[in-house]
């Protein structure tokens, strides 16, 4: 079932490839229907998922390249399930949201989007490290094309920067994967890249530190963790709306997912040792991202830096290494996907009408687009983590987890919550209120039903998760416990031999 889910969008892309180029409407419909079918399949996966078990489920294993010990292995647990659900929701929304704004080369665009969906799903579901890496890198190609072809004026620079930046870090991870493989051949006596088999290894802390550093660098660039975030504003600013939505909602999560998926399993000691460093960087990211957001004049850059800040929260929750922190981080990954995705679509709606992203070019939009204004407020409050919205639950859990580790972590984190309300409301005020200084007031027509339809699932989720997050938390709980147990076990086995040594 997981294999079908992963490759359904790719098959859809193949179908789109043979459709005639001159019929963009048909192509758009096929693309949307394929992504909806994938969502239906994802719903079936959620239905088949056993929330009580912390183990990987629905596993499918096939020998792929037996000579090198590379297998095709996919499976899902509570950690990846939420993200699969997020992908399933976001892609139809993004396709629907870009219905009117992408008018050139619709066919290639739809193929790129569907191919991207397969790569992203594969990244979240792979259990074999090489398979994971293949999907991880395969994500870059359609994304770079989305930025490079349908992007803004500076798209070429942004696409290449995005590609090189993330790939440079990824290849270090690949080398670490190969070293891990060589070590496994020595320790386990078999050639394997299978995560569940590699989990049986116990690596010396020094080795772990190096390998974890390579993995962490790849993930940290993707997240992005401050100070490795500099590719993000360019990529976001130049990408087309749907590209920004996918980038923010899904691609950044690949980084945080990587920390949660591989850290506890492969490098428990190194993760524990690096937690304070990660937390420190996360806090700097939270505050820095928020402060820089405040200073932006470009709406998209503002949201891009707000992502740095929000992903800082996710990293802080992970670095807390306790149940509240992990749970909050997982939930916040989904939340950030929903609310930042929606924020980028808000900008997209405005941009489609006026073709400017400068905050100063807007003013008094609320008077012309009242329904849009209401929508904007909902999305904004979700992003600013107002109680009752999804953002609150996630950030609250994260701060709770951080508080259990250090009061200072939590206190500095709260600063970020405050700042995020400031810059978001400030942006809202600039755009929606005040004198109508918009450059093309006549173009500011009310939001269309189709656009509204694209927002509908996101708004529904904002309130649903905000008021009743249990269904999500329940599903991830067992997997989070299992990951934390692993960390604890590793800590114990490490302390015992130290205690024996007299100092």
């Amino acid at each position: 079932m997981l294999t079908a889910l992963i490759f359904l969008p790719l098959a859809g892309a193949g179908l789109v490839a043979v459709l005639p180029r001159g019929r963009p409407e048909v192509i758009r419909w096929v693309g949307l229907l394929v992504s909806l079918a994938a969502a239906a399949l994802a719903a079936r996966v959620v239905g088949a998922f056993d929330a009580a078990s912390g183990h990987l489920q629905l596993i499918e294993r096939v020998a792929w390249i037996p000579a090198l010990g590379i297998g095709y292995a996919v499976g899902v647990d509570g950690i990846s399930l939420l993200l699969v659900g997020l992908v399933a929701v976001i892609f139809p929304v993004a396709l629907l949201g870009s219905w009117g704004s992408i008018t050139e080369r619709v066919k290639a665009y739809t193929i790129a989007m569907l191919g991207l969906q397969t790569a992203v799903l594969g990244t979240f579901l792979s259990l074999d490290l090489i398979l994971f890496y293949v999907f991880w890198e395969a994500v870059l190609i359609p994304m770079a094309f989305l930025i490079g072809i349908w992007g803004g004026p500076n798209r070429r620079y942004a696409a290449i920067k995005f590609f090189l930046y993330t790939m440079a870090a990824s290849v270090l991870m690949l080398v670490a994967i190969l070293v891990l493989h060589a070590l496994a051949a020595g320790q386990l006596g078999e050639r394997t890249f299978d995560l569940e088999r590699l989990a049986a290894m116990s690596l010396a802390p020094g080795t772990q530190a190096w390998l974890f550093a390579a993995f962490a660098l790849a993930f940290a660039v993707k997240v992005p963790v401050w100070p490795l975030h500099t590719w993000l504003p360019d990529a976001h600013t130049e990408a087309p709306t749907a590209g920004s939505v996918i980038l923010a909602a899904v691609l950044l999560k690949m980084g945080t997912y990587g920390f949660v998926r591989f850290g506890p399993v492969l490098f428990p000691d190194a993760l524990v040792a690096a937690a304070p460093l990660l937390a420190g960087l996360a806090i700097v990211g939270i505050v820095y991202g928020a402060a820089v957001s405040w200073a932006q004049t470009d709406f998209k850059r503002l949201i891009a830096f707000s992502s740095v800040s929000h992903l800082g929260f996710v990293m802080l929750g992970i670095a807390a290494l306790n149940e509240q922190g992990f749970q909050g981080s997982l939930l916040q990954m989904v939340n950030h996907g929903i609310s930042t995705g929606a924020l980028f679509m808000i900008v997209g709606v405005l941009y489609d009408r006026t073709h400017t992203r400068e905050l100063a070019d807007y003013g008094g939009v609320a008077a012309r687009m009242p329904r849009f204004a209401a929508l904007f407020v909902i999305v904004l409050l979700s992003s600013a983590a107002l109680p009752g919205t999804n953002g609150f639950v996630g950030e609250f859990l994260i701060l709770l987890g951080a508080f259990r580790v250090s009061v200072w972590w939590a206190a500095l984190g709260v600063l970020g919550v405050v700042l995020s309300a400031v810059y978001l409301l400030w942006a809202y005020q600039q755009v929606m209120h005040g004198p109508p200084t918009a450059r093309h007031p006549e173009r500011l027509t009310e939001i269309t039903p189709r656009e509204l339809l694209a927002f509908a699932p996101l708004v529904a989720l904002i309130f649903a998760i905000g008021l009743y997050p249990r269904p999500l938390l329940d599903r991830s709980e067992a997997a989070v416990r299992a990951a934390l147990d692993r960390l604890e076990r590793a800590a114990q086995t490490r302390i015992v031999p130290q205690a024996r040594e007299p100092r």
């Binding site: 090198l68 290849v171 190969l178």
Partner: protein
């Protein structure tokens, strides 16, 4: 009177078939009317395919007084050389017709060069290896100069010839030195000699000279300086063919000489080859960044790929050597494919060899653009293409071999990140909107001066599609071609 050694013609049946096809192409051209020249292509392809089929079926054997060997490496190397030959033949006819170069000699030269590469794979003796090297090289010198109307092509041929002759002399001197120390030119005997005695200074010098001779053919840094000029001047199809077939010949010979013969001296040469590999990967990739000519870019790209391949030879484990063979196969497909896409284009009667000439290709020829993008992605070593799997195979073997191998893998992957920049730039241009002039179909008259025209014959499409299919297949199901590498690896175990 000395006894004439027996001549086991059955052993060299594939070579004889290729030779026959070459002769046929040369002679048939004399009375074939121009409209029927397609038959030459058919004969060349049929000869190469038949030879490959024959070669895969023949049992192992040694002949010609121990100078010739047919084993797993021979079989793999010959299959690769013949595959490259078929691709090299298929990409040529349209271009040759366009340039008025459509003569049987072209196919003759391609087949003979292929024959040289086949013999290099089968050499069990340094003298035969030298002869095979020359059989490979001389047709390539001529091919580089086949653009008779173009002074650039003449210059390329001359330059290649002079430098190539120089490199051959180095090789021969190396053979002489090794003969001086060990008293033999048979490879197994040389290997046996060094497994008991430590290498003397003259033996080390001999080995070093062999590296220079083969390194020139493979375009390893610092013996690479000819490559960009020759590729740039040579006619497009000739450059496509020589970039691949010379690499196959050189690397199969490197595998035969180093891991298979001098395995006992691995400590001495693996550091040397590893250092050359690092240098080659870095210089090739960095220099390719700066090119505006597509051909020069591909020249530096082929240098960079020689660096990756050399990592496999330097590591020298069975796994690494098997990976080298797989890499050569993938490189033959993606390297020829990358050239082939550009062969379809022409600007003002000349080759369209600027990267910018690809602008708007996706609108005019979507199939070629998609294939071209695929080749670029594969050359850059990104999944899910053969280029990634091939690189993974080599660097995985390197990482398994210990710490120096990990360093080689690290350098290899980091330089591939650099390469992404120049490859994807090409892919990006292919998919970018056309400039005002755009690419116009070949037959259309009245186009503006300097417009890029598209000439894509069915044969060229066939070559591009075959290469693209190979790149995808090796990327998604690499196990299907693992047999070739595995039988080479088995020789070392």
């Amino acid at each position: 009177m000395t006894a004439v050694p027996p001549v086991p013609l059955g052993l060299i049946a594939p070579e004889l078939v290729v030779l026959g096809a070459a002769m046929l192409a040369l002679l048939a051209d004399l009375w074939l009317p121009p409209a029927r020249r397609g038959l030459l292509v058919a004969a060349a392809v049929a000869g190469a395919v038949a030879a490959a089929w024959l070669g895969l079926g023949l049992p192992d054997g040694v002949g010609f007084a121990g100078m010739y060997v047919r084993d797993g490496l021979t079989r793999a190397g010959q299959t690769l050389a013949l595959a490259a030959t078929v691709l090299g033949v298929l990409v040529a006819p349209e271009y040759l017709r366009r340039g008025g170069l459509d003569r049987g000699e072209y196919y003759f030269l391609v087949l003979i060069a292929g024959l040289g590469a086949m013999l290099m794979a089968a050499s069990r003796d340094l003298l035969l290896l030298f002869l095979a090297l020359e059989t490979l090289s001389v047709p390539l010198y001529v091919l580089a100069a086949t653009g008779r109307g173009s002074t650039r092509s003449q210059e390329a041929g001359m330059k290649y010839f002079l430098l190539g002759a120089f490199a051959s002399a180095f090789f021969l001197y190396g053979v002489a030195l090794l003969y001086g120390t060990t008293g033999t030119t048979r490879l197994p005997e040389i290997g046996a000699a060094f497994s008991t005695q430590a290498p003397s200074a003259s033996a080390a010098a001999g080995v070093g000279l062999l590296v220079i001779g083969l390194g020139f053919k493979a375009a390893l840094v610092p013996f690479h300086t000819w490559a960009p000029d020759v590729y740039e001047g040579a006619p497009f199809p000739a450059a496509a063919f020589m970039s691949v077939v010379a690499k196959i010949g050189a690397f199969v010979a490197l595998v035969r000489v180093f891991p298979m013969t001098l395995g006992a001296l691995a400590l001495h040469w693996s550091a040397l080859l590893g250092g050359l590999a690092v240098l080659t990967m870095i210089v090739g990739n960095l220099a390719a960044l700066l090119q505006t000519s597509y051909k020069r870019m591909l020249a530096y790209s082929s240098i960079a790929h020689a660096g990756y391949l050399l990592v496999g030879v330097a590591v020298g484990t069975p796994q690494a050597v098997g990976a080298v063979v797989t890499y050569l196969l993938v490189y033959a497909a993606m390297g020829t494919g990358a050239f082939a896409v550009a062969i379809a284009l022409e600007r003002g009667g000349a080759e369209a060899d600027r990267i910018d000439d690809f602008a708007g290709l996706s609108a005019r020829a979507p199939l070629l653009a998609v294939a071209g993008g695929l080749f670029m992605v594969s050359l850059a070593g990104l999944p899910p293409t053969g280029g990634f799997m091939a690189k993974l195979g080599i660097f995985l073997a390197a990482a398994d071999a210990g710490r120096p191998g990990v360093v080689l893998a690290l350098v290899g992957f980091l330089t591939s990140v650099v390469s992404v920049y120049y490859y994807l730039r090409v892919a990006y241009v292919m998919f970018s909107p056309a400039p005002a002039a755009g690419i116009v179909p070949g037959g259309a008259g009245g186009a503006t001066e300097g417009a890029v025209r598209l000439h894509a014959s069915p044969l060229l499409h066939l070559a591009v599609l075959a290469a693209a299919a190979a790149v995808i297949q090796t990327g998604i199901l690499p196990s299907t071609v693992a047999a070739l590498g595995a039988q080479v690896a088995a020789l070392l175990r």
